[in-house]
Subunit: 422 residues, 2 copies
């Protein structure tokens, strides 16, 4: 029988009643004959509460000690989940990250998984038990408890699925969440958006990075690297969800599979500066040192001088401006300006690699609804336009429509069916 | 410098403010040059809350999984304590029971410590760090998380002190609690009771078993076995406390060092039964199988028939009666009666071994205040009398007085000084 790794997030296991509900779902899958590994996050807001507690003792808690404290959240959740499964007559054993053989590089707060020693998982599975593994954590070679940082539990699940070679058994990694799959656009904004039954790792990565919050890019990257099919499903509904897998010939038939909107961006523009060797490195190293995450970088040249612009989240704009101003003062040249109230609309699809005219179609669609485009960035499978935030929803709808993603009445029916089931 | 193991209970670390207070005390002792290991219990009522959470998932939680859940309570506490110490500039590293090398026999919920692999503790100490160890837990040779049951954190502290041979360094194990030491009698009942500066392991064991709740007998036994001096101290006061150590010549000068009262006892009496081989085993095996803890057992003979009586806590009396009635029915003989509203007053002292007339002095003291004695049991260093519960306080005072434990005005002064400091 196929081996399936099922991951349940904090909301799905937020209280004893929800834990029992998830346990019933797991027990049913086990009865159907699947070999199962369950990965669980900390209950509800436990992690935030533990961080707040730590900050009452130490405003900037030591990272090693914070990991010791945070790791308990998942440990409680797996213990309770294993109890719930046993209560239902389903043999189950909880495991901390360390007990499950998840070895990390030892960096506290944002460890990377270096390998998985899957011996114990294998022994439990061969006995017919369900291992219930604490997400988000592992141990270093020194036996230190470390957490994996953002997207950690998804990564745990995909990494275990890779180590157990679930694809070879016909299985996959199921990520249970509070949405029923990946959509062609955010259904809260675009009413005709519809669920994608299938999407490639690359497309999912772009969408995840562009603000589609279904899955953390890190876990998708892991899945791509090890060829783990990732099935995104709703934790409370029996919907078919979305399968994230390698791109196939069929996927390339569509130029664009989805579009996304990232709001609340600000832009820093540097003009009248000579394009000397090392200029860009100097600017962005200073920003990175201040932990400012730069969204997109655009550069153009005009005669002797160059123009560099980049977007950041609105909250980082003030710091970014100050840091760049400092760098320009050192250089003794350059004009600085900042704009607020921007957004980014993007279209994503592996089909772009083979379909021509995708970009021009997107630009025309925005022009038709009179939306000015401030900047453009592209990757092999993505086109993004920086626009005014006020135009955001209208732009997303226009792009969604121009690539025929909504499928008209068909999509509307699908949406209504979902809501009726909810 | 001496190595000292300091253990702080759940109340002492009940919130971030108390954790900081304890951390300041630890940091001060470290600055004074002591090598320190700190053992911490779970914060406040954490353990009870985790058990209640588990019972919402599974009414009788699996013991292995309950250990996984419960062990997180101490893990949070040690992480926070280490953060607090670092915040004060005191190098500290938290350790789970497993990381501290505490190996157990693997019995979930009530493990015994089989050995301590103190390598990591030693390395931290030699680097000048304070290891902060999670009490109440350890790991089995299979890497399973197990808890030690009642008195577990005290036992962790004493076991670490034994493994580190603190006595050889001139150090000891300090148990910080919410009382300022071991008293000659419960000071809430006997106003003239005074703190004992020193008590032997044996005497402490008897007193602990008789209801003096300062320390769990298990940790005292451990201390006796490995010769660890145990210093019981108040966690918020600088009082000298009580040192529990091997009996010395000086200790035998006093026939009685303390007395205790255990209230809310019931008694089951069996009369008119032949004293056949195996009779006692049959009765008490049936009680043990029902998890009824028998307090004292007394047996006397009268001609052909024998009489067996035993005391139990009041809450167990109904079950005990039923079980004994069943056994008597099988035997086809014996008369059964139960009494409620009893108490036990005891006098304890290693000096009894060498002093004659201790028992008669105690009986006279009770007779002088007109208290009838229902039963008597004795050990090498203890005499107990079963009396009416209503006579309890008066009996404790009489016994305390007859052995000169209150030391008259001197003790009163000591008590007042303590209260003034509190």
């Amino acid at each position: 029988m196929p081996t399936i790794v099922q991951k349940f997030g904090g909301t799905s296991v937020g209280d004893p009643e929800r834990i029992m509900r998830v346990a019933r779902r797991v027990a049913k899958a086990r009865e159907a004959g699947f070999d199962l590994v369950v990965v669980v996050s900390a209950m509800g807001h436990t992690t935030d509460e533990l961080i707040a507690l730590a900050e009452r003792v130490s405003p900037i808690p030591d990272r090693r000690e914070l990991d010791m404290v945070m790791a308990t959240g998942e440990q409680v959740a797996v213990g309770l989940m294993a109890m719930a499964l046993r209560e239902l007559g389903c043999a189950a054993t909880s495991l901390t990250g360390g007990q499950a053989g998840i070895r990390t590089d030892g960096v506290h707060g944002r460890s990377r998984i270096t390998r998985i020693e899957s011996g114990r998982l294998g022994r439990l599975l061969s006995r017919g038990e369900v291992p219930v593994v604490a997400g988000f954590q592992g141990i270093s070679d020194d036996g230190e408890v470390t957490t994996l940082g953002r997207g950690g539990s998804d990564t745990t699940a995909v990494a275990i699925a890779a180590a157990l070679r679930v694809a070879d058994t016909g299985g996959c990694c199921e990520i249970y969440t509070d949405v029923d799959g990946v959509y062609t656009a955010d259904p809260r904004i675009v009413r005709s958006a519809c669920r994608l039954p299938r999407i490639s790792y690359e497309e999912m990565l772009e969408l995840a990075t562009l603000g589609a919050g279904v899955m953390h890019p890190r876990a998708v990257l892991f899945g791509e690297k090890f060829g783990v099919p990732i099935h995104v499903r709703h934790s409370q509904k029996p919907d078919p969800g979305t399968m994230i897998a390698r791109e196939s010939q069929a996927m390339e038939e569509l130029a664009v599979v989805g579009c996304a909107l990232k709001e609340d961006l600000g832009r820093v523009s540097i003009r009248q500066i000579r394009n000397t060797i090392g200029l860009q490195g100097r600017i962005f190293t200073a920003l990175a040192a201040a932990n400012i995450v730069v969204d997109d970088i655009m550069q153009t040249e005009q005669g002797e001088s160059t123009m560099i612009a980049f977007t950041v989240e609105h909250g980082d704009l003030g710091d970014a401006k100050e840091i760049v101003a400092g760098t320009l003062a050192q250089l003794g040249e350059g004009e600085l300006s900042v704009e607020v109230g921007l957004a980014k609309v993007s279209a994503v699809g592996v089909g772009m690699k083979v379909h021509a005219g995708v970009a021009s179609r997107m630009f025309r669609a925005l022009a038709e609804v009179s939306i000015p485009i401030h900047n453009i960035t592209t990757s092999e499978i993505k086109i993004s336009c920086i626009i005014d935030k006020a135009d955001g929803h209208k732009a997303l709808e226009a792009v969604h429509r121009t690539f025929g993603l909504g499928l008209g009445s068909h999509a509307t029916v699908a949406m209504q069916t979902d809501q009726a089931r909810a």
